[in-house]
């Protein structure tokens, strides 16, 4: 006998709805045995005392940004991957807005090769999104059929990660990609209506002197997509949902049987316009943080499943890029290393969500949206999981962050809950 035995650990598996204390034995990269108590000679295995700790399937991030290639000063791929593992993520979708952009099969393969050449272990599986349009510029389609031939563990799906403003192109994309049967992700955002806004419109933004973005900048684009899906029947994943009205529209669309799924980001669940009035450039996001009613609707949407998944939308920036006025800052924040702990502390610890609900939105559902088998804690399955200590506290700073990027409101703050270890054996069949 060999391997590792986790004694009396709280096992949470959203694929089965499991949340119970178990003995878990892993060997050879697989779960060998899971039972309330296992009779294994502790001299034969490494034993980890799991008391008070959580064992959960690896987290799956739908979409994030990589600095490499093109902006390695923000964050290299190695740093992104180290941060992901340190945060419990075993699969990370990478948006195509790198330099050069991921808009051809060679660019996607190069990114995956870059990751494979790194010797750090364990590694998260990188899933590049192939751009829908050349350069993700929203003008001319990429060679979508060829991109869709890439095997499913080397591509997340098709997405620009940018709003598509040309509605004719949007229609044609929905028609053209339908038979490709690949995940298609769209960000509902009307740039014209959003204008120069940097905060969600409302009395808080008005009081705080931040130009507002109407809710309609999101919902006008969302309804366009939903009405096109209603006619063309192409499944669509809706990215970066940030308003209460959008949650209501998606609920209706799902009730009508439209093939749509939706995600918000972890930052939109944790913060609102009230927080943006600190003018911390790390709270400058696109779409902007919602008003408190939007935030409440998103939190409820995750609980009910109307919002299927929580994306991290990890966006590293160099210090000098973010140390500017709130409105001048490029939107986005880092999050792969921080999100699970912050969400657990805020929503699971007080009982707003169950642990299963959080993991459903961060592991099971995003894997399904990517048309991949979700990681599971089940006998004979490959080990893809992480151990989390909800009680550990740590300080987010240069010595603990795996990323050189510091653009997070949690920087130099204390965080409760820490991922202790992540396991991932992607080579196993």
């Amino acid at each position: 006998m060999a391997g590792t035995l986790l004694r009396q650990v709280r096992v949470i598996d959203p694929t089965t709805g499991t949340d119970q204390v178990q003995d878990v034995w892993m060997a050879g990269g697989r779960w060998s045995a899971i039972a309330p108590t296992l009779d294994i000679d502790p001299d034969d295995v490494d034993v980890i005392d799991g008391t008070g700790k959580v064992l959960a399937p690896g987290l799956v991030d739908l979409y994030s940004h990589s600095g490499e290639p093109g902006n390695e000063a923000r964050e290299t791929l190695a740093e992104l991957m180290a941060g992901a593992i340190a945060g419990g993520f075993t699969r990370v979708g990478i948006l195509p807005g790198t330099q050069p952009p991921l808009d051809n099969p060679g660019a996607l393969r190069r990114l995956v090769d870059l990751a494979c050449e790194l010797d750090q272990l364990p590694q998260p599986l990188l899933l590049p999104w192939a751009a829908l349009t050349q350069g993700a510029q929203g003008e001319q389609m990429t060679e979508l059929a060829e991109l869709a031939e890439i095997k499913s563990f080397a591509i997340a799906g098709l997405a620009d990660g940018q709003p598509l403003t040309n509605r004719v192109l949007l229609r044609r994309l929905l028609e053209y990609t339908r038979s490709l049967n690949r995940p298609l992700a769209l960000w509902p955002c009307d740039r014209t209506l959003a204008g120069n806004g940097i905060a969600r419109d409302g009395s808080l933004a008005l009081m705080g002197g931040l130009p507002g973005v109407l809710v309609a900048a999101e919902t006008a684009a969302l309804t366009t997509i939903l009405e096109l899906v209603r006619e063309l029947d192409t499944p669509v994943h809706l990215m970066r949902i940030s308003t209460a009205r959008s949650v209501a529209l998606i609920e209706q669309a799902k009730a009508d049987g439209l093939p749509v799924t939706a995600s918000t980001t972890w930052m939109h669940l944790l913060f609102s316009t009230e927080d943006a009035l600190s003018y911390d450039p790390n709270l400058r996001l696109d779409p902007p943080l919602g008003n408190p009613t939007d935030q409440e609707a998103l939190i409820a949407g995750v609980k009910t499943g109307i919002i299927d998944a929580i994306a991290i939308d990890h966006s590293p920036y160099a210090y000098e890029e973010k140390t500017v006025a709130f409105g001048d800052a490029p939107p986005g924040a880092i999050g792969l290393q921080l999100a699970f702990a912050a969400l657990w502390e805020r929503f699971v610890a007080p009982g707003t969500w169950t642990a299963v609900e959080l993991l459903r939105a961060l592991s099971d559902r995003p894997a399904q949206i990517l048309q991949l088998p979700p990681p599971q804690i089940a006998e004979r399955a490959a080990v893809e999981a992480f151990l989390f200590d909800p009680a550990a506290t740590w300080t987010v700073d240069a010595s603990t962050l795996r990323s050189p990027a510091r653009n997070t409101p949690f920087y130099q703050r204390s965080l409760r809950g820490q991922v202790l270890q992540t396991w991932h054996y992607p080579g196993l069949p």
Partner: protein, 343 residues
Amino acid sequence: MAETRWNHRHILSLSRFTPTDYATVINTAVSFGEVLSRRNKKVPTLQGKVVTNLFFEPSTRTRSSFELAAKRLSADVLNFAPGSSSLTKGETILDTAKTYLAMGADIMIIRHAATGVPHAIAAELDRLNTGVGVLNAGDGQHEHPSQALLDLLTLCTVLNPEKPSIDLLKGKKIAIVGDIIHSRVARSNLWSLAACGAAVHVAGPPTLLPADFVKGFQRSPIDPPGLPRQLVQHTSLDAALDGADFVMTLRLQRERMTQHLLPSLREYHRQFGLSHQRVQICAPDVKILHPAPVNRGVEITSELMDDPERSLIGQQVTSGVATRMALLYLIGTGGQSAADIVQ
């Protein structure tokens, strides 16, 4: 002058100012106003202190007013102007602030075209435990506290030149009209005037005064449960002017025409421009304020602006120096040695 209690290291916004804070500023400014009426207008209050004007956005009037105020207090003044800066060469806003910190700055007066920059610099200075005070001299379309406080001094002085006091504002109707949404002056004034008990009525075209604009100003986190703030929003000018004791109008930037906010300057002037005829429905002795510079013939007619019976624009400028002396003094000394200063 009695010892004052002052617990604001920075003046970034008036949203958390109490009536006591306003009274302190007014009383201190009145004392400095007396200093300014003497032959020797200089006091040694801030001798040896370094006051820095960090004006990332070009400004002449406000900067001059702060510079004069600092010099009257015997401070050494450093001016930073964007034209000669290295901001375009990759320097961050914090680098600029830290450069002046290294020169020994005690107070930083900051203006920036973007909202929140003085807050960000103040947060960094606090994180470094520098003890340096930051005075917001206008950030984006957010706030301009010193302008609102000099407006307050102007109003209190008009109401009782012998003994100006914020209590005189109770029950007065003050109209603020024009391009409210883009105005940092309006936002700071909404906080200060309502906190002092005035009934504040705002009016402007719907594109420049969105519905529910005043909602965010109805309550400050520091308000005691019983303090009612009287803020009313109108879409027509006459409703705001009706019976008003004071009218404050705001500069209309001409580029609003190209942003689909207004059809024409002519229509704006017809709807919201102030003239002798329009202000007839105000109180008989109504006075007009404007933060300057004025677009003559747009938000106000030249005749009304130049009418010494009505216009307080000149007095606002005079109040500016005394008010800014008070603010620099309060930040620079914490209000500790008031008695020595004005003697």
